[in-house]
Each structure stands twice: as structure tokens, then as C-alpha cells.
Symmetry: C2
Subunit: 326 residues, 2 copies
């Protein structure tokens, strides 16, 4: 019997999950929930679409619900609410608020006897896992996380809010010399500016003051002021042709020594992703398998990627995994 | 209270564990067991040394025993035997015999109510984990494992058995163009020869037939015949000065697509290790923490890295990990 999966929210991430579930032979997508008018949603698979209000009454028909809303406004309320009825997975990524979110979701999941896995994706998610494995193996060492090259939606949005800007796309780019220094085990101390640069492609209104827009971007506190930032003004056509994708990625390093500093080691985990939301969706879907299996064994409560034994993510049995992958 | 760790076997790996336990503030090394005369063992820490025959009677004084013997002759008997008394960790790496070894160790651990974690290290071990995570996240894709640049002990030993050879050191080296092709998502089909080359540094007896030795190396079935192999004859002094270390490493890739092939993704996990045995020992020590904790929760039986939730490896609490690393 296949694992019955449902999706809540149908943006880029929800569409990614729709694809990822289709690619998983042990799963079937049985419902899509939306806050919009269900009739307005065009899915590419034959999944039935329902109002999110209907979710609770379908609790017996769904093994695990993957939440695809945003961390700022949707998940802080949606995850604890839906954890009252379902095994749930979310990609909550507001790092500072994870402990509070975990507590809220944990209470709901314990009361329902279900499993929730929060903050799933690649950062938080696979990058977090690699920070943990790296620290556990090499206690005498340093962590480094680099992001990119990739599109930052938050920074792109910040540029769009500047007067005279019609559209924008911002890329975060790791500094190659910093990567090399870390990779060579030099354990550099790196400032924000030394780790990443920012490159902006901006579509301005006709007749806008380009010098002012550029100045407002590169001096914007928190977003750009601490980085070396490059601004390119381009046409809407060029933006759509050359910058339509949502690539991202990055690297987590653990560099450390053994035998009181006698020998050095470098662990590097790298992601190069053509589609940030589709990859995140693929991670969510693998953890949906784990949530269902854990709950089938009687486990309940909130979990993170740190709490999930890797074998739960893979469709094959422990015996097959030991034979083929170990 | 610290976790009381003991070591069985005092070669390169055992010495690495001695260092790794010293670097772990939550552990103390309380015994070293050997098959040699205990008086002949010189440790660098103050750990007491006992005959392996004494191990069973010390079972109440040791929380977890890390086995540092070899896979060919030691572990197939030692691990099931010592699992009758202890939580144990081993680095059993004969891939084809892992299922049989797992069954033997599992029986012993279930009967003693202890936890054993077998085949821990980096391959099998961290590389296996990355193959599993990669397949679970990107079901439509390919795996690639490359080893090196690093010293292969088995291949070095094979050269030493040739007549006229006094000493030898063999390096396994990944082919850079193959790495690049995989990294670019080209999904190449690679022969053995296209993935790795082998470089040999050989000390020959005075007056030995160097051409014959070189021919015997490069045509040796299983070890060298399927590879492009380079042979350098050097002096014993040069071997000791330039090739004394035991570096190793490698890379595991998962390349795959999402949305029916619309987007490509590359996951790369890379290790660059100055000391193969010290890094392996560091992984064993982290999993020793997990074995002890799992057993404290009432778990018993044989496990592999696939079965261990990552949080068990790290000394900090779940709450701290969520706050600092997620």
C-alpha cells in the first residue's frame, strides 16, 4: 500500500512536492489543500484540490501532509494547527524562531499522537546535518557555510521595493579565494564581505534616476551595505530570458585536526541546484516517508532532521540498504 | 559522568581512537585490550593495558568498546564475541560480507541486550550515508564514488610481495576529467580505467630487474591491470621522507533531476584526509557515543550508520543542536 501524501499550499514549493511525490513509487498524492478558491488552481497531475478548511475532516484519508507555505506568515500558525490532525513536514527557515516553533508544534503533535518534522530542506536541513556530522567527527575544528551561486528571493524583493524599480533578480556568490582558503585547511577568519558578493540585475522605469537606484541598493543596511555589490540595469526581456530560473546551492565545510593538531582533515558538502524549490521539495518528500514510518511504529512529537535515522528516508529495507549502499 | 570507553587492538586505528577519545570532553578512556603482551604496549596516554582475555570480566566498568582490528582476520570473530558483553563499534569493511557479519553480531547483541554498530568509518560509513541521503532525495539520478588521492594499503602490500621489492607505497588518484564530467551533471558511464589512476613508489633490491618488476605491477590482475598505472623507483630514504603519511579521501556524488528531467542537481560530499586511520577513528568515536546513548534508552541489537539518528553523535542536547546548528 502506498503512502498517501497531501500538500498544503501551491506555490513553487508545492509544485515541487507534486513532482517529487510523482517520482516516488511508494507514494501517491491524494489531496492538495489551498486557501485560494480550489477551482482556480491548475495542477499538472490529477490530484483533487480542496479548500484548506476541509483538511481536518479528511484526516483518515491522508498519511502525511507536506506544508508548503512561507515561514514568515503561514507556517508559525499552520504547522501547529495541522499537526493536531496529521503527520506533517514543514520547511520553517527563520533560524532564530526555530526553538519556539518546535515547542508549539511538539505540543500539537504529542496531543494528536502524530509525528511532525520541522525545518526540512537544505538550509535548514541537509546543511544543518552536515554541520552536525562534521562537529561530531572533528571536535577540534571550524565550520564554514557558503551560499550560492544562487538567487536570493528576499534580496530580490528588497530591490523591487526601491522607487523606480520594476523588477529585479539578486544573486549571492561565494568568494572563490575564501573557498580555496577554507578548502586548503587555512582556517581563515572571514568577514561578511570576504565570504560573499552580491550581483543585482535591475529593470528600471523609463527615465528613472539610475545612479540613485544603484546608490540605494549598495548602501541598503542588512541587505547590501556589508557586501561588495554590483548592479546591472537590464531590460525586462533580458531579465525574463536570462534570469528566469531559481538556481541556488552552497557548501558546508568542517575543517579540523586530529592527534593534537598533527593531522588536518577537510569535509566539504556541496549542492549545485538548478531549482531551489524543487530540490527543497524533494527533501521534504523524503522526510514525509520518514514521518509516516516513525508514526507507524508508535512515535509521536516534533522532530528535526537531527532526530531521523537516515534509513527511514529511503524506500528500500534495512537489509537491502546494507547490501547495496553500505 | 563521562562515557567509559575501551579500545581493543592497538595499531594505527587504535592509536587514532586513543587520540579521538582524548579530544572528546564527555568521554574517558578506561582500558586498552591487546592480544600482545600488555607490558610490550607503549601508549601515549595513561590508559591501563590488559590482555584481551580479561575483557569479559571488566564488562561492568566499560560503557562501550571500540574494536580496532582488521576486517580480514580479526573482526569476523571478535565483534560477535565481544558483543556478548559490551556495546561495540567496529569498522568492518569487507562490503560483500557485511550482511553475514551483521547477522552474527545482531544475534550476540540481542542476547546481551547491548548495541553494536558495525561498518563505521568513511567507506563504509560517511560515504554510505551520503549515497543513502542522495538516493532518497533524488530518486531519478546516478551515484558516483571516487577515492583518493590516497594511499591504498592493500595495493601497497601487493607490490611488496613481488620478488625484488623491498618496500612500496601506492596512491589511488581520481581522474580529474571524470570528476568534472560528473560535477557538470553529464551523467557519464565510466569504466574502471576512466575513474582512477594508480601511482606506485617502489624501493627495489640492488641489482633487481626493474623492467620485470614494473611489468609485474602494471599487469597484476584485479589490482592494477584495469588501471593506467605509473611506477617510480625511489630510494628507501625518499620513501620514508616523502611517503610516510597515510592520507586518503574521496568524493560521493549524487546527480539527478526533478520535474521529469526539467532541472538538474548535483550533490557532492568530499573528504580530504591527512590521516586515514585517525579520521576513521574519529568517526568510530562519535558512533561510540551513539551506541552508549541508545543502549541507555533500552535499545539493543546490531545497527549501521543508516540506523543512527544524527543527534546521537553530538555531545550537545537536542535543544542546543536546534538552536545552534539547525
Amino acid at each position: 500500500m502506498k503512502i498517501r501524501v497531501a500538500i498544503a499550499g501551491y506555490g513553487n514549493l508545492g509544485r515541487g512536492v507534486e513532482h517529487a511525490v510523482s517520482a516516488s513509487p511508494d507514494m501517491e498524492l491524494c489531496a492538495l489543500f489551498t486557501r485560494r478558491n480550489p477551482d482556480s488552481i491548475k495542477t499538472f497531475s490529477a490530484v483533487p484540490v480542496y479548500s484548506i478548511e476541509k483538511a481536518a475532516e479528511m484526516r483518515d484519508k491522508i498519511d502525511v501532509l507536506i506544508l508548503c507555505g512561507g515561514s514568515a506568515n503561514d507556517l508559525p500558525e499552520q504547522t501547529p494547527e495541522l499537526a493536531k490532525y496529521f503527520n506533517v513536514i514543514d520547511s520553517f527557515d527563520t533560524h532564530a524562531k526555530i526553538p519556539e516553533h518546535f515547542e508549539n508544534v511538539n505540543k500539537a503533535s504529542l496531543s494528536s499522537g502524530k509525528v511532525s518534522i520541522i525545518s526540512v530542506g537544505w538550509d535548514p536541513g541537509m546543511f544543518s546535518l552536515n554541520r552536525l556530522y562534521g562537529q561530531a567527527i572533528l571536535p577540534d575544528g571550524n565550520d564554514y557555510t557558503f551560499w550560492g551561486k544562487g538567487v536570493s528571493q528576499g534580496h530580490s524583493d528588497a530591490i523591487r521595493r526601491i522607487e523606480g524599480v520594476l523588477d529585479a533578480r539578486q544573486y549571492t556568490i561565494p568568494v572563490e579565494s575564501a573557498l580555496e582558503s577554507v578548502r586548503n585547511g587555512e582556517n581563515p577568519t572571514l568577514t561578511t564581505r570576504e565570504k560573499h558578493t552580491r550581483e543585482c540585475f535591475v529593470v528600471a522605469e523609463d527615465g528613472a534616476d539610475l545612479a540613485r537606484i544603484e546608490r540605494e541598493i549598495v548602501t541598503m543596511p542588512n541587505y547590501f551595505a556589508d557586501y561588495d555589490t554590483t548592479v546591472h540595469f537590464i531590460s525586462q526581456e533580458e531579465l525574463e530570458q536570462e534570469h528566469a530560473g531559481i538556481p541556488h546551492g552552497g557548501r558546508v565545510f568542517r575543517t579540523g585536526t586530529t592527534a593534537n593538531g598533527a593531522n588536518s582533515h577537510v569535509i566539504e558538502y556541496s549542492l549545485k541546484l538548478d531549482s531551489n524549490p524543487e530540490f527543497t521539495a524533494s527533501v521534504l518528500t523524503a522526510y514525509a516517508r520518514a514521518a509516516y514510518r516513525l508514526n507507524s511504529e508508535g512515535v509521536s512529537g516534533a522532530k528535526t532532521v537531527f532526530d531521523i535515522a537516515p534509513a527511514y528516508l529511503h524506500p528500500e529495507s534495512g537489509e537491502e540498504l546494507r547490501r547495496k549502499l553500505l
